[in-house]
Symmetry: D2
Subunit: 326 residues, 4 copies
């Protein structure tokens, strides 16, 4: 077992984690949560979908909330550099016997699944709208600037990591492995845009979405969100934090949306663009990897996640570790 | 010439700077500025007056904006401990041959003028309303918590200081004086509530109001106000700062309301309740007393102020100092 | 059973919580913790005692750490306005049959015990030293500005509250009481200096010290302390938080010093000087009173405290409440 | 006249602005400034050079301070992806008749000049050292995380921009141009690492270095640096700010080192990795492009810069614009 570092050079260029479409059971409740509480901006509402973006984003949306009879993840997309990259990724997928479908509903999208069955998409461009970065009077909630990353459960971190690193060119930045004689990868953090991650994968029943994260300017904004949620009827939606991750060095807060989808508010990681960057290893028994300050995460944080649409989950290859104090 | 320290014990107890009533020419413009931009809370609007308070205040108002044909200061009040204190102050004023009037319009108020002709008032209580401190979702602008102090021009700082310190019991915390052989008081900062000031007095054409100040939680909130004003049509209303005062150690910003009344946003001074507290002296040529970081204040900041209603101003006793770099 | 509000007028004026002397088993370990980690300033070390103060304090010390064979609280003092006040308090204590002793070791101090046997002291003045508020290059740790309050266990909150409020003139600001038909006071927060408290008392085996608190400028400084402690060998000394108290609205962190004495880092409460201030009641089952964001405090926080020297503790009058989620 | 956007695809990959070597006249004075005041970390001192890095950097250095008889810029380097890229850049430079020299003093470096005569270098790797990101107890000054960018005067922005964009593949993010009928490029901001810039170029006597910038976590850290400098004998080294740039949205402060080299402390710009990113145009008469809040920059800021070693400067192609209020 091994980490893949550096990532293999690919003939295409994946830019960043781009958008997610979440099935939600009550658009009005979700609207209140994502816009009034978190502070995302509404770009458009049409039919059963609400399109949202962060304060600095000029892309049309990073989150789509779609009326659904149950909480579900419908789509999860990565942006690539150009249309030709979509064809190059298509060729790779065919070579790997992975499914390929093009969807042109709103923008040209290549849809597939990874080898573990997790649905992912690629797109080269999206309609551009106004950047609200300097419309300061509209700032609300935790001032979410942009989508930062996706974090998913996979039943086989080793195999998932191999796909994303060797085939898709994701760069490993940090990882945890078991502390025994034959160490196994427990979780990986991989990036394309130059900070700690665009995609993290962790051992568990999967594929499932663990959380999506929004990048916030400072810890103060995240603390303000705690205060707002605690006094606006959302105190029970605060799941974990605020705190500092050992891994990534991020100041974090985990909250649950009205359907239970988990959202991380994330700040202050670091730049990873250097070609001589060395991934950081953490042992599974180092409690500070999770919370530098020593706090335990709740059981729900280790166990609960959102299902992807039309996807079968399986049990993880590695036996669940006892939930330690942190 | 001398400073009065400690203040003389008085038979009454002035608690703090309490409220100000400003005449404004356009209530709607002022409403937008004080509520949407600064972030004060509307308690009540009735007839031609708008009553505002800070986020932590349970008193009905600290600012009253009243329709007026010209910008003017109508009333400026200090809270005292109880009704008996009003009678005790009344007795003092009569002894000093200062005017006395009781006004019961909205709450029982003793109105007078100081020896330089500046109108001031005293009141023991005010209707109480909800404290919004923990209604975090309503926070806006620079999150102004409470009124902090009044700062006024007086033509004779020495004489004014003597009245407020010896007769009314205000405690001197910091002061500037000229650097010559016969040093003269140039400005004084005096407190009742236990931080650096409830009332500051500075040499100039007076009596006039230089500014009122609101206490904000952190420098970050004040920086956010700069960003909001700069992108909401109020960039020209930013007059000075943000910066750090040497005097008081406050992080400050001075802005002008739509009628030109000057507002300070103020944070991070210090506790002054100790009986063994020693006032801090600053020489008039120490530029860092004004801005610790060395920035000059604009000419308008030294010269402009708001007139009090029905009050005659006179030239200052001390010759104006050249406006130095700071 | 009732709260005492307003406090009775007293013929003396208690200014604020002033200093504490803690017995510590290893001065060097304590020095590292209080100075290098927390960021307090050393005023003086002599014989077996280390004298510390906050960044804005000009009093000689607010904390004395004295070599001791076991962790203990040796002295806990409140400052009064002047020497005459000491005589007036002496008269009161004699009238109440409470012990009186004058100690002139370093500054003139009146020593006594409250009716529950908790040792307290009073002093009018202390040697003054330089205020380091504007020596910014020396700021470290969480930038502790000043001592804020003492929090103590008492076996009878009702009786303790009566003494401090009726006899000593402490003003009640917030309180918790049981939710049954005959509500009993569970904890009280009482102030003299104009913010939420100088002294809090909570039901438990007592008298014992629950914690002392230092006032910090912003939540960011407290978060930085978490990061510093977590990466300097003190991660296990972080006991609770950071978080927001419902009571007092303070942003807080509780840490334990090398001997287990509990320290709170405290920020952002509110002004309480108004004579028309109304104490805020919290029901014992309102979890947000403790942590607005809903986090539970650990068992140790409810049970552990520091003993006072030569003091017998007794069990609390009210039965311990089950430790709820928060 | 035109902007070059998108940048031309290049056969090599420039990663980011990497390091600068500054000639300084007194290493001890510079050491105090860069380490004790700004908060950079010393990696190594050898012979006449001091090697410094930011708190999150694992590269050996981003700043080299070398004893010199006069203030000068000795070297300015960009990191590339690998050694092969150096050969590919060498080929390009030869084709453009630009000088090529390889220097192996400390790490393998390709040295050249741009078409305007500005000395620049390229390197693929540098010795790696410990990342201090989580050594929180060592944080000082403004907590500078990493080098962010270089800003240089050029006598011909159009020509310089063409070189960096068309030949080297720098992506334009923001630019200013004259407001007349035949608009001319006045300044350009160009990036490789995915935020607003690695290199900015502005019209003026050149080539000269205008400033180097360090990325800081929050505005609060930059404000703390103002406080530290103002009270540590460096008040006159504060040249401009703090403030918010309209361009880049950065919170900024400009200070001068003991030799007059200009340093920017920089925070809170935005992500620019999207392939559908559109450069932002600012008219030269829009004062908010420079300071969103409307403050003027001092004359020195427009006129002064550091010379490059062995480099002849010439007057700018465009006539100097009157220095407007901002």
């Amino acid at each position: 077992m091994a980490i893949y570092h550096p990532a293999r050079k690919t003939p295409f260029n994946i830019i960043r984690s781009g958008y997610i479409e979440l099935g939600v059971t009550d658009i009005q409740k979700s609207r209140d949560f994502y816009i009034n509480i978190l502070g995302l901006i509404e770009t458009e509402q049409c039919e059963d979908s609400l399109y949202l973006r962060g304060l600095e984003e000029s892309s049309h949306h990073c989150v789509v909330l779609t009326k659904s009879c149950e909480p579900i993840v419908k789509r999860m997309g990565f942006q690539v550099e150009n249309k030709e990259d979509l064809s190059r990724i298509e060729a790779l997928l065919q070579q790997l016997n992975l499914p390929v479908n093009f969807n042109n509903d709103r923008h040209h999208t290549l849809q597939t699944c990874d080898p573990l069955g997790m649905p992912i998409e690629f797109y080269a461009s999206m309609p551009q709208v106004a950047r609200n970065l300097q419309k300061y009077s509209t700032y609300r909630g935790c001032r979410p600037m942009r989508i930062d990353h996706f974090n998913c459960f996979t039943p086989d971190v080793q195999k998932s990591h191999e796909f994303y690193s060797k085939q898709l060119g994701f760069h490993l930045t940090e990882y945890t492995e078991t502390d025994d004689d034959d160490p196994q990868l427990w979780a990986v953090w991989m990036q394309r845009k130059g900070n700690v991650h665009d995609l993290a994968l962790t051992n568990g029943i999967g594929p499932r979405l663990h959380h999506i994260a929004f990048w916030c300017p400072t810890a103060m904004d995240i603390i303000h969100l705690c205060d707002v949620m605690a006094t606006s009827g959302y105190v029970d939606n605060i799941e974990r934090g605020p705190g500092r991750h050992g891994i990534s060095n991020a100041f974090f807060l985990y909250v649950r949306d009205p359907d239970g989808h988990r959202i991380e508010l994330y700040s202050s990681d670091y730049l990873t663009v250097d070609p001589d960057f060395k991934p950081i290893r953490w042992g599974l028994h180092d409690a500070q990897r999770q919370t530098l300050w020593g706090h335990a995460a709740p059981k729900s944080w280790f166990e609960e996640g959102s299902l992807f649409v039309n996807t079968t989950t399986i049990s993880p290859r590695l036996k669940a570790q006892p939930i330690v104090a942190n």
